[in-house]
Subunit: 109 residues, 2 copies
Amino acid sequence: MGFTKKHIFDAQQNQIANFTKMIGHPARVSIIQYISQNKDCNCNSLVKAIGLAQPTISQHLAEIRKTGLLNQSVKGKNLFYSINQDKLNESRRLINDFFVKTQVNCSKE
Amino acid sequence: MGFTKKHIFDAQQNQIANFTKMIGHPARVSIIQYISQNKDCNCNSLVKAIGLAQPTISQHLAEIRKTGLLNQSVKGKNLFYSINQDKLNESRRLINDFFVKTQVNCSKE
DNA sequence: AATAAATAACGTAATATTGCAATATCACAA
DNA sequence: TTGTGATATTGCAATATTACGTTATTTATT
């Protein structure tokens, strides 16, 4: 059909899927890396660095923003992005936990 | 358009995106968890446990299989799935590395 | 006020994904 | 060989995603 039956899964499963889905596009991986490496990174610098059109970058930024991973600060006519480190940590723990638990379960018996 | 311009990103960015995209659906999170928790898990038990139709589960299994995360073993007329732990570890390192590097970069200066 | 720069929002075409019914395949049992 | 159970494949409808041209919006500069 095209839509996902989210209601048959629990909150944590949906949380894990939501976050990894957001990372699941190389443009967004690249954007996150670039923002973490460059202070005072705005939309325009991402457009130049990555090579996708401005509306496309803006759209990917919106996807990342939806998960809470981005901070924004307005300086003059620029909008600078940075990584919300609390959210980064929280997400890292969520994903790592998924890996660890999976691994531990595999190793039982 | 619908397709992804993979060629403008590097191998690692595509690798990270590929793997997280596979996890980016709650059914696949649930399937991975279930397989890790239940020895001798076959397609049918997943259909019963998760509540999606057999073709849908089969399709999700194929997506997971594509990343190399699944082992299969035939016993009689059953096909049992288990987690490829080497691949799990490799992927965990890949994703964790992404998180760590992002975090380290954020903390510079 | 007029212009320019930066970015978001809107609209749309192309493609991908999700979910399932129907069907095919494959291995075993009767 | 006929049937049965387990899984994969096919085909399709509904929805989502990706990418971008165009247009609005907002803020600074002249």
